[in-house]
Subunit: 467 residues, 2 copies
């Protein structure tokens, strides 16, 4: 039986339970230090950030040969007794009885040498980078955030709906899309007008990768009341930045009989739950990020958990910006969208805490957002975080058939494509609201990792679909 | 404050806690029965299968008008007192004090009339079918199975890895793929040879929708020991059957320092955990399926939970089939693949319980499965369920560089495309194993629903990408 290092570093029943016990650990050698009469081996198995220290002395079989073969990256199985550690940095260590080399590691060519590697270099070896401290910790934190997401919504009685990736409709009527097809592009069939004959394609029509599960989610909100989606979404924009991915994950709750205030209440509770879950379950990884990646991280997370988020209307925010005396690069005028510099001013300087900005002018927002009684603004909200900007965007949806139709016509949309979306407003419509959280943005915030390409296992962006 | 019907049907602190309380429920009218002096209204809010019964009498405001407007599908908000129910079928009901119509329902055109609709018809109204008993229950069971999946693996210390949907490699080297592109198919750029110039495409190379996250998962198993994926996967096969979807979800655990036996142990424990979780959390939905969709369902689920799964080698299974005296449509001969009729005979007639068939001939299995010492078979397993056939397929992976290379050459694969997969075998390789569970197959088994198109929210298959 193998024992995970996590259970030795943090034994469920305390250290007294494991001291003196013989166990077997399996993992990868991180470092080897040969002393005169014995050898220190640091082993990591990915279950936890910190390595487990093993002492090997000449008593163990093949000691001499092992000393040569045990290089960084080698996979090993080590049996021995757990003893109290006289050294600093760990409570217990292992006195090895036998060491078995499972897989050697070509020390000449192994790219993960014992030094700092740039994030950029690590992206080029995405098959090995999870073995580094930083990327290894990101994977654990990301997994914990995903589980906390399910836990939060399931415990509140939300139904998880897996909405489709392949779609024939385009949620926002905007943004560039990836086309999905089985036609041979070399010799695609043509119709009588000489265009591509999509009736011969797999879905007998043009098909795309989804930009959002929201419209599908609304269907289930109007049958199951409270639902959430959590799946991959796509943007084909040619954005080569540290904030954009072509493929990323979104969490999209949708609630029936829910207005914008209740929507914000849920979003605030969700975000706090996520961060509290990390505090309770990923302390070691967070401390690592705080120390080496982003100083003050844990204090920032705590502040979010403890503070009550502000709420301010777009119109009010505009007045704040106008009176700020700041010199912004982009103009501040009612009707124009907020730029990141404005968002930063509001969340970092003016409010100095998370803030929901609500009720934007309808002209700069999508068709599905509910028109307010002023007929100028819509019932939407953007949640701005200090340092990171918009982390959540949501709205109450337009549940009134007539208003929706009007908005769709204004947006010059093809109503026939949305017959089913319109019908939801004819058969027992109900006020409903929801929001979307860009999951990678949350992983960035929770770890302090700056480039979005480093918080997803295998990033997809212009020119990159390797691994 | 709104109270969910689930919490009235099954109050956390018992019925005595809620009797006499005034609450507000919100949901959709299922049926209305007008009696002489009062009206029965059945309301459903999707939180639970069964409706909540409301009694309205002429005392409440607008009683006459409401009696006309309250038709099936109407969304309502009803305030009233919880009282003990004199009728059968429910412990409590509500005496309405006021009823508010939120969204009317066009009774003439509403497709969900009070009668049985065929699954086929319901597929054509995928935006309304979650409001039916059967599809509503499927959604709740599917959500519970998804959460149980996360719970099982997370509690065992597995890391959830979200592997990419867009990929430049093709896991099995087989099966038809969906192409993903941003090139305009009407006028795609050409290279000097006259072919499509993919260097101008978004990813600067041909890109596809993934058929499996396994190869990516192996990367993380070799850094974090125990991981799982759970995401959408794709097949572009033109299969218009009740067992195939173009887009479906897969659960793929991958474990380092793990052999085939441990792999099967994990798979068996996982499946049992899923079904036990349903027994504990979805009793009402399961009873509904047992009664109306698949008689004996609950007994079948119990049998799986309680029985110990069989394990038999392919070679042994072949001998059983040869000696069976059955007349099969497909030949039975060592080296040929098992057909569904063979699988059914083994799991339903011979073993009469779930059975792992292991160690198939290498010729009929993919390159990544570990070659056994006989050099004829590989260390793989298929888990066969009575009634449903293969529900899980897995294997120990070939962790030996030389053997892997040999197998890839035999399969005429382009080794350059898999440089990173090969490198995992050069840098601290370790025995590892995993499996894939077709999530929709599990939902089918757990609900007894026959057509795979009815266990996913919005099915994708040839000719269908609507909604």
């Amino acid at each position: 039986m193998r024992t995970k290092i996590k259970d030795l570093k943090n034994p469920p029943k305390g250290f007294q339970e494991i001291i003196g016990k013989e166990v077997t650990i399996k993992g990868w050698v991180r470092t080897v230090r040969n002393q005169k009469t014995f050898t220190f081996i640091e082993v990591n198995d990915g279950s936890t950030l910190s390595n487990f220290q093993v002492i090997a002395d000449p008593e163990i079989p093949n000691y001499q040969k092992l000393a040569e073969q045990l290089t960084t990256g080698t996979s090993v199985s080590i049996e021995g007794a757990i003893v109290e550690s006289p050294g600093k940095g760990q409570a217990v260590e292992m006195q090895a009885k036998s060491i078995q080399i499972i897989g050697s590691c070509d020390v000449e060519n192994y790219p993960l040498q014992k030094k700092r590697h740039s994030f950029e270099f690590l992206r080029s070896i995405a098959h090995l980078r999870p073995r580094t401290n930083t990327l290894g910790a990101v994977a654990r934190v990301r997994s914990a955030l995903a589980y906390a997401t399910h836990k939060f919504f399931q415990e509140k009685g939300f139904i998880y709906v897996q909405t489709p990736v392949i779609t024939a409709s385009d949620c926002e009527g905007a943004g560039e899309l990836f086309r999905v097809s089985t036609l041979d592009p070399e010799k695609a069939p043509r119709n009588e007008q000489g265009g591509i004959d999509y009736s011969k394609d797999f879905f007998e029509r043009p098909a795309f990768l989804t930009v959002s599960g929201q419209l599908n989610g609304e269907i289930f909100a109007l049958s199951h009341s409270d639902i959430y989606t959590f799946g991959p979404t796509f943007r084909a924009e040619n954005s080569n930045t540290s904030r954009h991915l072509a493929e990323f994950w979104m969490v999209e709750p949708e609630m029936a009989f829910c207005d914008l205030d209740m929507d914000m209440d849920n979003a605030e509770a969700y975000v706090k739950f996520l961060l509290q879950y990390l505090m309770d379950n990923c302390q070691e990884d967070l401390e690592f990020f705080d120390k080496f990646i982003s100083k003050g991280l844990i204090d920032r997370l705590k502040l979010i958990i403890e503070t009550s988020f502000e709420r301010a209307s777009y119109t009010y925010a505009m007045r704040i910006l106008e009176k700020s005396g700041e010199r912004f690069d982009y103009p501040v005028r009612w009707g124009l969208d907020l730029q990141s510099e404005h968002e930063r001013y509001l969340s970092e300087k003016y409010f100095n805490k998370p803030v929901f900005i609500t009720d934007y002018p309808k002209e700069i927002k999508p068709f599905y957002m509910r028109l307010n009684d002023d007929e100028k603004t819509v019932a939407n909200m953007d949640l701005l975080f200090p340092k990171i900007g918009e982390i959540i965007g949501g709205s109450q949806r337009e549940e009134r058939h007539g208003y929706l139709k009007e908005r769709m016509k204004e947006a010059k949309m093809n109503l026939d494509d949305y017959w089913w979306y319109m019908e939801l407003r004819e058969y027992g419509t109900a006020p409903h609201a929801g929001y979307g959280l860009g999951f990678e943005r949350m992983v960035q915030f929770a770890t302090g990792v700056e480039n979005i390409r480093d918080v997803i296992a295998f990033p997809r962006y212009p020119g990159k679909a390797e691994f």
